[in-house]
Structure formats: structure tokens, C-alpha cells
């Protein structure tokens, strides 16, 4: 029985977060992912402090394309810029694009999904049609078109990633809310006179936490990948702002010999995405108190 399983701490109240934290810590992959992600974020924030050189200054033109060395950890790019500094600064753009898109998709996806799932009927119909519209148009093509209209750039990429990212979250939340709407704890809240918004906010959304996290975590790499793809097609973030997508794209031109120009940004992107998904999985498991030690 549970009495024998969980030690009843003498201090009385355990905070739910404390418990989530415990669960999170015991998931090694998630901790590693989280740590890496944390480091990446810190690196992005404190980029000026940890980079020896200005990422946009072409201070080493005479040594352009130099291979990694003790002074230039990741080498120098074709424009004489310290590549390590550029990678670190690139994290700023990629992470911002990823997280803004993810955040936006969650901000739009959750309410819409909850609305559709809770009220059903006409609202659901309308939202489902909107979702259908978004799911039959490939984001990349839409991005190309939008990029042509707006002439590309940072804003466009974030916008497009967000525009297409919310669909997944919305669908997941909708399905979850739909299945929970009939649960008796929702009825119980209704019996207590709670308003629909209260129920959505306090019961349905927290119970959708795992699809929300899945959606959130999935839309981050999607946005980052979109940035890379669009850079390849020439609608990316304009230079000299260092972005990983742009660097990868330029890097493949040099892949024959100056491998570092392609390898480092690709690795940075892959590591970030990997860390994010490990972290996300762990977070989901940790935040869901019903998942026991699996």
C-alpha cells in the first residue's frame, strides 16, 4: 500500500514542485538534456562575456578559413570572423526563434484546443477547419510564399514557425480536453458551480500538460529546422546576424576542405534539439504526478 511506499515526511507539506523536481532528477537523460540546454541558454545570454571576439567583426581576415586552434576553438570563417563566437551568438537567434515559435504555438494552441475540446459543436467545427487548412499546406512552401511577400527575415521565420507550430499543440490539447471533459472530476467542479473558464484553466489545461510539453518541445526543433531550410533557399535571417541555419548553409560550400564551417553549426543544432527533446520528455514525466517510476 501507499503507506509503505512513500515516506511521510515529518515536516508535513511536501510541495508538488519539490516532488516533480525529485522525479526529474532521477531521470538521467533528462538531467543531461536539461543541463546542456541550460548551458546553451546561459551561453546565449552571456554570449558577450564568454566569447573572446565580436562575432560580426572581421578581425582575422588574413587568417580566414583557419582550422580550429587554441586561440580560435572552432576556427575562423571565410569572412575572418571567430567561428566560436559566431556559434555562441548563433545560439541566441536559433534559441529565440525556437522558443518564441514554441511559446507562441502554446499561447495560441492551448486556448484554441481547450475551447474546441470543451465546447465542441460549432466552435470545434470552426477550429477544426482552421487546423485542416494549416495541415494541408506544407510550412516550407507557405514560408517561401510569405518570405517572398515580406522579403524574409527574422520576423517572418518566427511568424511562420509559430503559424504552423500551434496546430500540433492545439490538436493534442483538444483531444486531451475532449477525453477529460467527460471525466467526473470535471463534473464535480461543475457541481460546485465552477465556470467553464475555471474548469479549463484549473483542470483541463493542467491535465493536458504532457501533450502541451510534447507540442512545445516538438515545435522548437521544427522552428530551428525551418530557419535552416529557409536559409538554404535564401529567405533566412539576413547577415551578419549569425544564425546556425545560415552558417550550415554557407558551411556546406566549404565542406570539402574547411569542414569546420559545416560541422560546428550542424552539431550545435543537433545537440540543441537533442537536449531539448530529452529535457522535454523528462519534464513531462516529472510534471505528471500520475506517472510512477517507469
Amino acid at each position: 500500500m501507499t503507506d509503505t511506499t512513500a515516506p511521510v515526511s515529518a515536516s508535513g507539506q511536501r510541495s508538488p514542485l519539490w516532488f516533480a523536481w525529485r522525479r526529474f532528477l532521477s531521470n538521467k537523460a533528462a538531467v543531461i538534456g536539461g543541463t546542456v540546454l541550460g548551458i546553451l541558454i546561459l551561453m546565449a545570454i552571456f554570449a558577450p562575456l564568454i566569447t573572446p571576439y565580436d562575432p560580426e567583426a572581421q578581425s582575422f581576415l588574413t587568417e580566414a578559413l583557419a582550422f580550429p586552434s587554441a586561440t580560435h576553438w572552432f576556427g575562423i570563417d571565410n569572412l575572418g570572423r571567430d567561428f566560436y563566437s559566431r556559434i555562441v551568438y548563433g545560439a541566441r537567434v536559433s534559441l529565440t526563434i525556437g522558443f518564441t515559435a514554441a511559446l507562441f504555438s502554446v499561447l495560441v494552441g492551448i486556448p484554441l484546443g481547450a475551447l474546441a475540446g470543451y465546447f465542441g459543436g460549432r466552435i470545434d467545427w470552426v477550429i477544426m477547419r482552421i487546423i485542416e487548412v494549416f495541415s494541408v499546406v506544407p510550412p516550407l512552401l507557405a514560408a517561401l510564399l510569405l518570405g517572398a511577400i515580406t522579403r524574409g527575415g527574422y520576423g517572418t521565420i518566427v511568424f511562420i514557425a509559430a503559424l504552423f507550430g500551434w496546430v500540433q499543440v492545439c490538436l493534442l490539447v483538444r483531444a486531451q480536453v475532449k477525453s477529460f471533459r467527460e471525466k467526473e472530476f470535471v463534473r464535480a467542479a461543475q457541481a460546485l458551480g465552477a465556470s467553464p473558464w475555471y474548469i479549463i484553466r484549473r483542470h483541463l489545461i493542467p491535465n493536458s500538460i504532457s501533450p502541451i510539453i510534447i507540442g512545445f518541445v516538438l515545435s522548437i526543433p521544427l522552428a530551428m529546422m525551418l530557419e535552416a531550410s529557409l536559409s538554404f533557399l535564401g529567405v533566412g535571417v539576413p547577415p551578419p546576424t549569425p544564425t546556425w541555419g545560415q552558417m550550415i548553409n554557407e558551411g556546406i560550400d566549404f565542406m570539402f576542405f574547411y569542414w569546420h564551417l559545416a560541422v560546428f553549426p550542424t552539431a550545435a543544432l543537433a545537440i540543441t534539439v537533442l537536449a531539448t527533446s530529452l529535457f522535454g520528455d523528462g519534464l513531462r514525466d516529472a510534471l505528471d504526478p500520475t506517472l510512477k517510476g517507469r
Binding site: V133, V137, P138, L141, L146, M225, V273
Partner: protein, 309 residues
């Protein structure tokens, strides 16, 4: 069931029309037109003449209705880029390589992905599992153009086993197909793994074990079948999804497919082709969703036998 199908078809048709309007409007809000000069100005008189010739001087809604009216008769117009043929001819010509690549990519990638996902689910938290998720994540995070380049460097340039690029000879298909296959492989590995784990956790699996069925039979008959149902819904859309992947793979491997037209039709404002391509993709997606919906219903006895989900 029939009512269900009809309802689905209606809603798909609705979506299709909405999307076509959105695309049409977006297409025409891109600044510039198809007959803008490339380097030096074309005289205004000539430009006007050409616009009139293509019917671009009419109001937008008229152009839209004209176009869609044509579409209803399967007439998608003549591409500005290649006026010697119709859009339909152009697409059916350029589609062949894309279809071969995309098709074999999915057909090879999906089963491999499923196998990988199965192996991962059955050996949860073992090295196979970690390998599978690493492969899946890398497959999804490393941009196709980087993998393409890597494959070319390794197999064509360094090892000299395969030709670097090009199209007609089937041995040139190998590398691009591998590139194509990576994405379905990664996606399927992911989906399969989680679908399998979900199924394995269901109580009936314990019951099957308790009945003394062999583990092989449990996995291959019961667990697979149950996990396949959710997978059905991603199979077809993924197939269509390869269409946009073709932009990169085809560019890197010099494949004369449809991919380049996606980009060029937007770049040179080839309205007819652009619209046709977008409609094609939209239509395929609609069809794919519809079919997977039906396949889902057919595979799932709960729906097939008239119960409700």
C-alpha cells in the same frame, strides 16, 4: 460509414477551396509580376500586351474564378516558364523522378523505421533504444542538404562507390533515396516506439502472456496490429510530405524533378504553375487525410462495426 465519408469529403472540399483562395491571394500579393524585367526595363507597352495575353489584366476575383473553372475541367493553364506545354504535362513529366525518389524513400524508410522503433520499444532503455532515439533525432535535426552533401562526399568522392549525382541511371538513385528515406525512417522509428510502448503497457498484453501465447506471437500479431492503427494516420501524409523535401534532395543530386519548380515558380511569379503545385499538394494532403481516416476506420473494429469511439 457512407455518411461519414460524405461528411469528410465535404469538409475536405471546403478546406480545399479556402486554401486555394488563401494561396491565390498570397501569390498575388507578392510584389512584382511575371513579366518584370530581369536586368533592363521592358517597355510598358510590351508588358501590358503580355499581361493581357495571359489574362493578368483582369480583376483578381475574375482571375481566380477563371482559374478554378479551368481546374474543374482539369485545365491548370500553361506555365509561364514553359509555355510549350500545359501545367498538367509539365507536372506529370517532372513528377516522375520526384515520385520515384519520394516513393522509394518512404517505402524503404518507413519499414526500417518501424523495425528500429520496434527494436527500441522491445528493448526499452537498452543501447538499442538509445541508438534508435539518437538516429531518430539526428535524422530529424540534421538538414537534408547536409546529409546529402555528406553522403556525396563519402560515397562518391572518397570511396568512389557511387556516382555523385545525376538522374537517369538507377544507380544514381541510390544516394538521393537514402537521403529521402532518412526522414520517414526517423519519424516512423519515433512513432512506432511510442505506439508500441503504449500497447505493451495495456492490460491485454498481460492477459495474452497469461494465456501462454509465445512472445513472438504476442508481439507480431497482437501488439503490432494494435500499434499499427495509430501509425496508419501518419503514413500517407508523410508520403506527401516528401514533396517539399524534394526541393533540397533534388537540388543536391541534380534530379530533374518537381522540387525546383516549387521555388522557381514563386521566384519568377509563374502564377499558373505555382497555383497548380500548391493545389496539387493541398489536394494530395486532403486525399491523404481522407484515406488515412478511412483506413483508420477500417482497421479499427470499434468504428468498423458501428460502435463509437
Amino acid at each position: 460509414m457512407i455518411a461519414h465519408i460524405i461528411r469528410r469529403i465535404l469538409s475536405v472540399a471546403f478546406t480545399f477551396i479556402v486554401v486555394s483562395i488563401i494561396i491565390f491571394l498570397m501569390m498575388h500579393s507578392v510584389p512584382g509580376g511575371p513579366f518584370d524585367a530581369n536586368d533592363m526595363p521592358v517597355s510598358e507597352a510590351v508588358r501590358a500586351k503580355m499581361m493581357a495575353q495571359w489574362g493578368l489584366d483582369q480583376p483578381l476575383h475574375v482571375q481566380y474564378l477563371n482559374y478554378m473553372w479551368g481546374v474543374l475541367h482539369l485545365d491548370f493553364g500553361v506555365p509561364f516558364q514553359s509555355p510549350g506545354e500545359t501545367v498538367v504535362e509539365l507536372i506529370s513529366r517532372a513528377w516522375v523522378p520526384s515520385l520515384i525518389l519520394g516513393g522509394s524513400g518512404v517505402l524503404i524508410g518507413a519499414p526500417l523505421g518501424i523495425l528500429l522503433g520496434m527494436a527500441a520499444a522491445l528493448n526499452r532503455n537498452s543501447w538499442i533504444d538509445y541508438l534508435a532515439s539518437t538516429v531518430a533525432t539526428l535524422g530529424l535535426t540534421i538538414p537534408v542538404f547536409v546529409t546529402s552533401m555528406l553522403l556525396i562526399l563519402i560515397f562518391a568522392v572518397w570511396l568512389n562507390w557511387l556516382p555523385a549525382s545525376g538522374w537517369p541511371q538507377p544507380n544514381r538513385w541510390i544516394l538521393p533515396i537514402i537521403c529521402y528515406a532518412l526522414i520517414p525512417l526517423a519519424t516512423y522509428a519515433r512513432y512506432t516506439r511510442s505506439a508500441m510502448l503504449d500497447t505493451l503497457n495495456r492490460p491485454f498484453v498481460t492477459v495474452l502472456r497469461a494465456k501462454g501465447l509465445s512472445e513472438r506471437r504476442i508481439i507480431f500479431q497482437h501488439v503490432m496490429r494494435n500499434s499499427a492503427i495509430p501509425l496508419v494516420t501518419v503514413f500517407l501524409p508523410m508520403f506527401i510530405g516528401t514533396a517539399t523535401g524534394s526541393i533540397f534532395v533534388e537540388a543536391m543530386f541534380r534530379v530533374p524533378g518537381l522540387g525546383a519548380y516549387f521555388v522557381s515558380s514563386i521566384e519568377v511569379r509563374d502564377y499558373t504553375l505555382q497555383m497548380a503545385l500548391m493545389l496539387l499538394i493541398t489536394f494530395m494532403y486532403c486525399l491523404a487525410y481522407l484515406l488515412s481516416d478511412l483506413a483508420y476506420a477500417l482497421l479499427n473494429p470499434r468504428i468498423r462495426t458501428g460502435g463509437t469511439e
